[in-house]
Each structure stands twice: as C-alpha cells, then as structure tokens.
C-alpha cells in the first residue's frame, strides 16, 4: 500500500487528505520505513529524468485555439517558437509531462528562416518538429507517417493563399499571397510584393504572426486526423515540378527534394535592370 502512494504517478488525488490520514493510520510505521527506503534507493528527480520514447502522447486539440496561441506567441519568440508553442501548448496543459519538460525557447533559433538567414520558413520548421515529436519515432513505419504529414504540410504551404487565419484582434488588415516555396526568403518576398510593403514593416511582421496561426491550425488538423487514423496524403506537387522530378529526382537521380522548381529555376529574370 505504501509504495503506490509514493509512486511516480503521485497519489490518487480524488481521496481527501483526511481520508488518507485515516487510511494510513494503521500503516504509518510501515509507510515511514518504505518512504525512507525509497528515498535512499532513488536518485533525484533531476538526474533520473529521461524523455519517453516517441511519439509523445497526443489527444485531439482545438485547431482554432492552437492558431490563436501561435499568433499570440509570435512577438515573444519568433515564428518557429510560436508555431511549436501553438501546436503543443494545449497538450502541456491537458497532458502535462512530458510536454512540461521540453525547452520550447530553444526554438527561437528558427526565427526568419533560422537566425534571420531566410532559409526554411520558421513556422514550417516548428510545425515539422512538433509533428515528429507527436507522430514520429525511430521505427520505420512511424518515420514514414510523420514524414508524409510534414510533406503534406509543406506542399499545402507552397500552394495555398496565406495567411488564411485571422486572429481575434489585429493591428492591420493582411492580404494573402501564394509562397510557391517553403523558404522564408521567397515567402516573404512574394508577400511583400503582393502587399506593397517593406520586409521590415510592422505589416510584414503581423503577416508572419497570422501565418504562424495558419500553419499551427493546419498542423493540428493533420495531427487530429492521424490520431483518428484518417490521415491520408492528399496534396499533389505542381505539374511542372512533377515533370522536373520525373527526370532529375528519379531517372537521372542528380538532385533531391520536392520544393517547387520554378520558384528558383525559371522565374528570376535572366538579366538584371541597369545598376
């Protein structure tokens, strides 16, 4: 009786303290011994703690709340942090550990395509990390499903008019654009052109905050579907990209990836205007 009371899952909390004291009265001496013995045998919580294997426990999450949470966290830590927090924050509240143990602020590194280098969109980077944490694992079949979900998200991002999430309150009206790329550089450039604003404007920052909401909501949609067993990849690469890949990624096998080819290879002008 004594050991379960001190076990790692804690005491049954529905029992009142008065009831417990009554119940344990007869077992008090034994409980005292057992508690001391366990305290000696067990290393501290800090050194003993190891993360559970992937995937971490998941239960269906409200996608709109996730989107709003992602938006709310954007100005505190950037796009990767905000999107990961939007996707995982509700689970930290409802499930608790192991989500309580994750150093979410590490993901500030992904801001503006990683440390402002404008490579991979931070919202996608954070969402991909969260998907792997909650649907992936070291087994090949887990990796396969998580990778399929991530690729589904990336293709949706490339082809969809975004941001398609609007927060409860916002400083601006935000126009939509199609990124045609999962890269921060192209995503921001194309949006700024559509919105006719500069990249360091408050409107652009607000657009990226909305975009974190869009990506978090779409990620939760995929994770909820996966939890129900109903996730099926549906996104289709552009016809042009499929054509390029049929030679380069398969027959010639001289390149890798599934980004839209035309975003870099065909759209830039062959000559620059006079400097």
């Amino acid at each position: 009786m004594a050991l379960p009371m001190m076990g790692p899952q804690g005491l049954r909390m529905e029992t009142s303290r008065r009831d417990l004291v009554k119940q344990t009265g007869a077992l008090m001496i034994g409980a005292g011994f057992a508690a001391v013995a366990q305290a000696v045998a067990q290393p501290s919580a800090a050194t003993a703690q190891k993360p559970p294997a992937l995937p971490w426990p998941f239960q269906p999450v409200d996608p709109v709340k996730a989107a709003q949470a992602a938006y709310d966290h954007y100005y505190a830590g950037g796009c990767m942090f905000a999107t990961f927090e939007g996707v995982t924050g509700q689970l930290r509240e409802t499930i608790g550990y192991p989500y309580t143990s994750f150093p979410t602020y590490m993901l500030m590194y992904g801001e503006a395509g990683v440390a402002d280098t404008a490579t991979l969109c931070g919202a996608l980077n954070g969402a991909a990390a969260a998907i792997y944490l909650m649907a992936g694992g070291i087994r090949p079949e887990r990796k396969e499903i998580a990778f399929a979900m991530i690729r589904e998200l990336f293709t949706w991002y490339e082809q969809t008019e975004l941001p398609d999430f609007e927060p409860e309150v916002s400083m601006f009206d935000i126009v939509k654009s199609v990124a045609h790329s999962p890269l921060c550089h192209a995503s921001i450039t194309n949006w700024c052109k559509a919105a006719k604003v500069k990249t360091h404007s408050p409107e652009r920052a607000e657009r990226c905050a909305w975009l974190c909401g869009s990506v978090a909501r779409q990620t939760i949609k995929l994770l909820n579907e996966n939890a129900k067993g109903s996730f099926k990849p549906a996104a289709v690469l552009s016809t042009e990209t499929q054509t390029c890949r049929s030679c380069h990624n398969i027959e010639l096998d001289n390149t890798r990836g599934s980004m839209e080819c035309g975003s870099c290879h065909f759209t830039p002008p062959a000559t620059h205007s006079k400097l």
Copy 2:
C-alpha cells in the same frame, strides 16, 4: 526534519540506511504523516519537472570526438539528429541533466532538408538548434550572440570545401565540394556533380555522414570560443551577395536573408535542353 528527507533532490546520500532508520525512529509517526501530506500536495517528479532556462550549462567539448559522434549517429537517425547528438552527446555524459531530459530523436524530422524535402541542410538545422540551446536565451543579448554564431556557421558552410572531416573508418574516399548554399537541395546536387555519383548512392549518404562530422566540429569550435569569451564573427558574405543585399535587403528592403544570391538567381540556365 521530515520534509527535507522527501524533498525533490532526494535524501542526503552520505547517510547510511541503518543510520537513517535509527535517526527517523523517533520521528517515524511524524514522518509518516509528513510523507503522506507531501504526496498529496506535491506532483510526481515526472509532472513537476520543468526545463531550466536557456542557455543550458556548457563546458568545453572535444571537437574531434563531437565530429566522430556525429558521423557515428548519421545512419541511425539522419543528418539533423546526428549533428545535434554529436554536439550535445558529450555534455549528456559530463553534465547529465538537463541534457538527459532532451528528446533527441525528435530531430530525426530534419533528415534530407526536413522529411526529404531538401530545404535547409539537416546538419545546419541541428547545429543551429544546439547553438541556441547552449548559447541563446530569451534576453536580447543572448539571442544576438546565438544568432551571430549560427550565421557564422551558415556562411562557413556555404563557402568551404566540405566535408573536411574524415572519420576513423569509412567505406569510401569522399571528394569535397563547395555548396554555395545552406540548402540540402543545392548542397547535394553540387556534391553529386563533383563526385559524379547519384543522390541515392551509398557514396552520397557517406558524404552526408562526413558532413555531419564537419558541421559538428565547427559548431563545437564556435561554442568553445563563446565559452571562453573569444568568439568574434569572422565570416564575410561573398562580394556578389553583398552587392545584392546593399539594394534589396537594405535600400529597397524588398527581400530577406543572407543565402548566396547566385546559387538560385544567376547560375541556372535560361533555357532547358530539349526534352
């Protein structure tokens, strides 16, 4: 007396169990009550655990061991996982917690530019995450130093003949190439062209394993310098990229980033060979 014995850091371990039993004999009833009361009031070790604030503790690491560890882990979980493991693995051994609590397998998501989409090189993605964990934080001055280290690493990667690390034992001789990009897509394509092999060849996989070693070693070099207070950004963007940025990133402010512009904007042929 009773509460410290059951505290989250565990019992003073230098005291023998027999001594403890003697010492606690007179306090047994009290201890029994206190233990029960604490079990009710305090969540389990698992739910109580929260990660410490960034940056996590760091002490100088052997860069060659880090590189070898990154290489050794490549085939187990891909490039992002391997590089992060190479950079942080020694600290898990020497410092223990909080490194023992981190779910490193989550970083399998970054394989081949995230789920094989060939966006950001996974070695760079994993290294950037590790740098932020060990040198970054929510304070602006911490973010600034971590971002400077990450950008230093990215520019080094773009401009250096890699891989420049050779593991203790390898199946192949691996040639070097310059990526001219932090993206998996360009990095692999350029290397395969130089090595005259296909992207799904075992030689290409081995090249990426060596590359993880190179990136882990360079990352540790930066982190060791930072720990000594001697880190200074030294990498310089290419002259061409500086010229582009002087208008587009500053004056016009119509794009973002620091990737080599020519990698996408000028090198592709204007016309495709006949299909």
